[in-house]
């Protein structure tokens, strides 16, 4: 918006008030009156909004429905960057924007939405009055617009502004008009109209974050910091329950599980902060909850691979791949209703509420351990340093003869290090942290693919065993898939040595040593990483 030409006009309506003398000697002539009905579409995590864009479904009567993509800063004062006419069933995923006109939009949505579904987050309406500001020759010297946003009902979340739009060559008149509006007592407005309307309507853009960020300082006692984390993570999990039950997209389950996994790992990565029995209880509880959705997640992942699998087998076997996926789709349906029932059950609800209550974490609820009161920086530095060193040791042993098992172990340790960096990253210099994460991520991606490929093979083998009596195209297709996957897996495996070498390079060791230096009480631990290299 043009800041010095937009005014807040919440209590005025040009249509009703005596607008006659507002701009004397100029007069106003109504040129256009528009009323639009919109639905704000975005993913659960507002990914389009966070890209600086707004996706709207224009459902104004008599205007032909359409999708409109706006740059956030242009909203109302400019024009949408994309308009795609659309009638019929609304699209839920980026890949459904298949119309020719929609290909540009599809590309943009693919980038922001990924696997996420578009949800109808908020319906709102926009009233626009456009007046020509006329001089004594009845020539327009500017446009005055009144823009009103409100929710479904006329008085919900009402936001109104006046906006002067200049006409070229009438700068002097524009200045006069600005002054007149100013003098009439309208305050200048430089806010974001839609955002304010949303907040008024209790819709908070981008409030959901799958990775909670909490503020920590070096001196905070570690037990308290960990509890804060666990509470945020558990509420992230719970925010996803409804989306899993409604099966909106598979990212709800994913985020639900990742949060639980983060909780489990923080418990085991930061030991001795609760009492021994309580720690054991926490681990057991969270493991049990997590397990309930393993199968559903596995099925989600397979179904995602559908296209890839198809590309892996020769066309003659594609019928077999179809059968495979039909069968998996059925399995998923069955599994989803099981998970749904479980999430809706009173037993589950009570159990989770109880956990949440325990995590409020007074000394009485979870007990204390010997490290409870240690400053978080000290504990974090020690754990990161130890983990880095441990990975170094494991990785150094890996050569072409090492078993896959050991590669998997390496993957698990890397994951733990990643969590540590995530949890405690806020304590370290941003630059070093980012560097550390990016090197680690490269190794992890490699190991992750390696692991995915072996998990997929195993499950296909299991599938073969379960469906032994079925016709040969299916088994041939699955057999073909397994061998293709195993080839890919060998290739991934070959890259591990190289990526590990980067991770455990003298440069990276130096980086970690510097990072943890301030927090280490026993400096020997930090150095042992460099000793590992000579061994």
């Amino acid at each position: 918006m043009d800041h010095h030409r937009t005014w807040l006009a919440d209590s005025v309506n040009l249509e009703e008030e005596a607008r006659g003398d507002l701009l004397q000697p100029f007069c106003l002539q109504l040129e256009q009156k528009a009323h639009r009905r919109y639905q704000l579409l975005d993913t659960f995590d507002w990914s389009i909004w966070q890209q600086g864009e707004i996706l709207l479904y224009n459902q104004t009567q008599g205007e032909g429905r359409s999708y409109e993509l706006w740059q956030r800063g242009d909203f109302f004062s400019g024009t949408p960057s994309q308009v795609v006419p659309h009638s019929g069933q609304k699209h839920r995923f980026w890949w459904e924007f298949t119309s020719l006109a929609g290909s540009g939009l599809q590309k943009q949505l693919k980038r922001s939405c990924k696997l996420r579904a578009l949800l109808e987050l908020h319906p709102f309406e926009l009233d626009q009055l456009r007046y020509a500001v006329k001089n004594e020759d009845q020539k327009s010297v500017a446009w005055l617009e009144q823009i009103t946003l409100h929710g479904k009902s006329e008085n919900q979340g009402v936001r109104r502004v006046l906006r002067l739009v200049p006409v070229r060559g009438y700068e002097r008149e524009l200045k006069k008009l600005q002054k007149k509006i100013q003098q009439a007592g309208f305050p200048l407005y430089d806010g974001a109209l839609l955002e304010e309307h949303l907040i008024d309507s209790e819709k908070f853009p981008a409030q959901y974050q799958s990775k909670p960020s909490i503020v920590i300082t070096e001196e905070d006692p570690v037990r308290e910091v960990v509890l804060r984390y666990m509470r945020s993570l558990l509420s992230v999990s719970r925010e996803n329950e409804a989306g899993i039950i409604d099966d909106l997209d598979i990212e709800f389950l994913h985020d639900y599980r990742v949060s639980l996994r983060r909780i489990r790992s923080i418990i085991s990565l930061v030991s001795k902060i609760f009492s021994v029995e309580e720690t054991r209880w926490l681990k057991k509880e969270f493991a049990a909850i997590g397990k309930k959705t393993n199968l559903l997640r596995d099925l989600d992942v397979y179904l995602l691979e559908q296209e890839n699998y198809r590309a892996l087998v020769p066309p003659v076997l594609s019928g077999g791949v179809d059968e495979l996926f039909e069968s998996l789709t059925l399995d998923r349906k069955r599994e989803l209703s099981r998970v749904r029932r479980w999430l809706r059950s009173a037993g589950y609800r009570k159990r989770l509420e109880y956990m949440q209550q325990r995590l409020t974490g007074t000394a009485e609820t979870l007990g204390t351990g010997v490290r409870s009161e240690q400053p978080v920086l000290q504990v974090a530095s020690l754990e990161i340093s130890k983990k880095f060193h441990k990975i170094g040791k494991l990785g150094n042993k890996i050569d072409s003869s090492t078993s896959d098992e050991e590669v998997h172990d390496l993957r698990l340790e890397c994951k733990k290090l990643r969590y540590l960096l995530e949890f405690f990253g806020g304590l370290f210099a941003k630059k070093s942290l980012n560097k550390a994460v990016s090197v680690l991520k490269k190794l992890q991606d490699n190991l992750g693919r390696f692991n995915d490929l072996s998990v997929q093979q195993e499950s296909l083998e299991r599938f073969l065993q379960d469906h032994q009596q079925q016709q040969s195209t299916l088994s041939a297709a699955v057999g073909g898939l397994i061998s293709a996957l195993s080839r890919e897996q060998r290739e991934e495996r070959m890259r591990v040595t190289e990526n590990f070498a980067l991770f455990y390079s003298p440069e990276n060791r130096q980086l970690y040593a510097q990072m943890v230096d301030a927090g280490l009480v026993n400096k020997e631990v930090g150095k042992s990483a460099s000793k590992g290299e000579q061994a």
């Binding site: 020509a132 020759d137 009845q138 020539k139 327009s140 200049p166 006409v167 070229r168 060559g169 009438y170």
Partner: protein
Amino acid sequence: MKIVACYSIKGGVGKTATAINLAYAAAQDGLRTLICDLDPQGASSYYFRVRPSTKLKADTFFTRRDRLVRNIKGSDYPRLDILPANLAYRDFDQMLAGMKKSRLRLSQLLHSLSDEYDLVVLDCPPNITILSENIFHASDQVVVPVIPTTLSQRTFSQLLGFYKESNLKRKSLLPFFSMVEQRKRMHNEVRQDMRKAYKRFLQSEVPYSVDVENMGVTREPLLVTQPRSPAALAFTQLWRELKQRSNGVSQGELKGAKDGD
């Protein structure tokens, strides 16, 4: 950027009426359009309710792009701007006569606006002057309203003659019949004659109509006030035909390949 002039040696034939309606049609068609009122009388400025500017001096008009740009004003319609008339334009010829490359000045000036506009429409004063020679050089199309009378027939031959002498591209000269009255026998005869003699005549004909005269009262293009009136439809048709011609699809040109000009 394309430049279209509405020009005629004769006065009062409908140049201004054509210029403003063509400019409006083009802007509605999506082109960023500038109409330049080159006539010190300021008729098209009047129709757009813009007062003639007093600041611009004849000598700076051709030399100072920034001064010119500062005088451009937005019309009441999207994508359509206007450079209003200026009394100083009366001194154009005297001014131009003293300049080097005096016939190419306007072309240079207008092309300096090419990143702002897709089309410039020139509303020209009558007569042949150094300014009009500038106009001929600058314009991709010179649209000439011709009232179908024997007198107009003569002035049009004069114009053709001038083009020939001055070695100008006669292809860009596009006459059309203006203020046509079907009831008048002379109008019909002259039309037939002239079409036979000059193959590039535009097909569109603008009828004589009080609606056009009324523009003086409404001070808006006819296409705004009465878009479905016969004269308005004729202007729209004229715009379409010009567009086609500039894309090189011209029936006249196809037929008149061996046209002896």
